[in-house]
Amino acid sequence: MGMVLQLNELKAVEPGIFLAEPVLNQFGQTLLPQGVELQARHLKVLKTWGCKAVNVMGEGSSEKESEVSPELMNRALTRVNWRLKWEPTTDLEKEIFQLAVKRVIQKFLRP
């Protein structure tokens, strides 16, 4: 199974995983470049900056995941982050966030 892009919430990310694309702050500055192997100290910094989710390289399990390009994922995250004026912290809030991101991707991919 090839490596594919996955959207992971920061809290679910374990050290040792690789960033699929750079993490930017709200000013467009790079906090961490693409390809970095995330360690505990990186995760702490990202949490301090209020980062909610990161795009990481993981084992793909469905064809749909392989269709999501980093650019598309970024667009979806940008769109949803703009619409959410709050930080998802509970399971319900995270679920709503994920559904919103998936829906944006779905609409972009619709023929």
Partner: protein, 282 residues
């Protein structure tokens, strides 16, 4: 006259609910009424009858056979469900303005309302709430106050829409600042004037917080969560582009397990697709 006074006066002068719905309610209050009595009333309004049959045969109900008459719809779905379908169908035609104000287009508003109606029904069924027939109509009418403002205070409502967009704030906040009341109150006044059941009135008044009553009314909680879900899925447009934070207490009232919303999303999307075609909102 203040904006609030103007709105309230116009609500009082608004035509009552569609004739066919009132006639249905009257007949249904008679315990001797039959499915035939109901079907004759519905059939007299061709537009309502057509929509009711198409909805009854849609994936919303998933009935395996064909429902080809209103009588059959009444037998299969029940009196209350048919009456509420008539209400949902005819309220769509009640407000006459079709043009847009700022970013508010009635067709997108109704699509959002229909989505919340569908999601409320699916959520309520998952919770096994009683009075299943109230779920759909409570969801569809939850934002009816916006149409009241659009109809009777268009200038002020346009300013509220504009402010919500510029300041990236929920529409209800800008409504409070500019009109002095938000659409949940406006809608509550309307459906109180229409004498709709208290449970539906509460669902409209309380859909932002998701909590009314002690113990909290699960129908209100269901509409609240449905509204958040439908906004996350971008079904229609409710007047602002934000996803409201769901109230955890309202979620607890429903007592649903984690990931329920994810599991029900495909059904919400499928039913939305079909229902918007039937209601002519596509």
């Amino acid at each position: 006259m203040t904006v609030i006074e103007k709105i309230i006066e116009n609500i009082r002068e608004l035509p009552t609910l569609p004739t066919v719905y009132l006639a249905l309610s009257e007949v249904m209050a008679d315990p001797q009424s039959t499915a035939r009595d109901i079907s004759q009333i519905v059939a007299s309004d061709l537009a309502s009858a057509s929509r009711v049959l198409r909805l009854a045969n849609s994936v919303l109900y998933g009935y395996p056979g064909q429902i080809d008459t209103i009588s059959r719809a009444v037998v299969v779905l029940g009196f209350d469900e048919v009456r509420n379908l008539v209400l949902a169908s005819s309220v769509l035609d009640l407000f006459s303005k079709q043009d847009s104000a700022f970013d508010f287009r009635p067709v997108d508003f109704w699509a959002h309302s229909l989505g919340v109606g569908i999601a409320t029904r699916i959520i309520g069924q998952a919770c096994r709430l009683p009075k299943v027939e109230d779920l759909f109509v409570a969801g569809i009418l939850h934002d009816i106050g916006k149409l009241v403002f659009f109809e009777f205070a268009e200038k002020e409502f346009s300013r509220a829409l504009d402010q919500a967009n510029k300041c990236q704030q929920p529409l209800w906040e800008s409504e409070m600042e500019i009109l002095g009341m938000d659409h949940s109150r406006g809608g509550g006044l309307l459906v109180e004037n229409w004498n709709l059941p208290p449970a539906i009135q509460n669902a409209i008044r309380g859909h932002h917080s998701g909590l009314i009553g002690d113990p909290a009314d699960p129908l209100v909680a269901a509409v609240h969560i449905a509204d958040t879900l439908v906004r996350a899925l971008e079904l229609g447009f409710g007047g602002d582009d934000l996803i409201p934070r769901p109230n955890e207490q309202a979620w607890e009232v429903l007592g649903l397990p984690p990931n329920t919303l994810t599991e029900m999303t495909p059904a919400v999307l499928q039913q939305f697709e079909e229902a918007t075609k039937i209601m002519g909102l596509h």
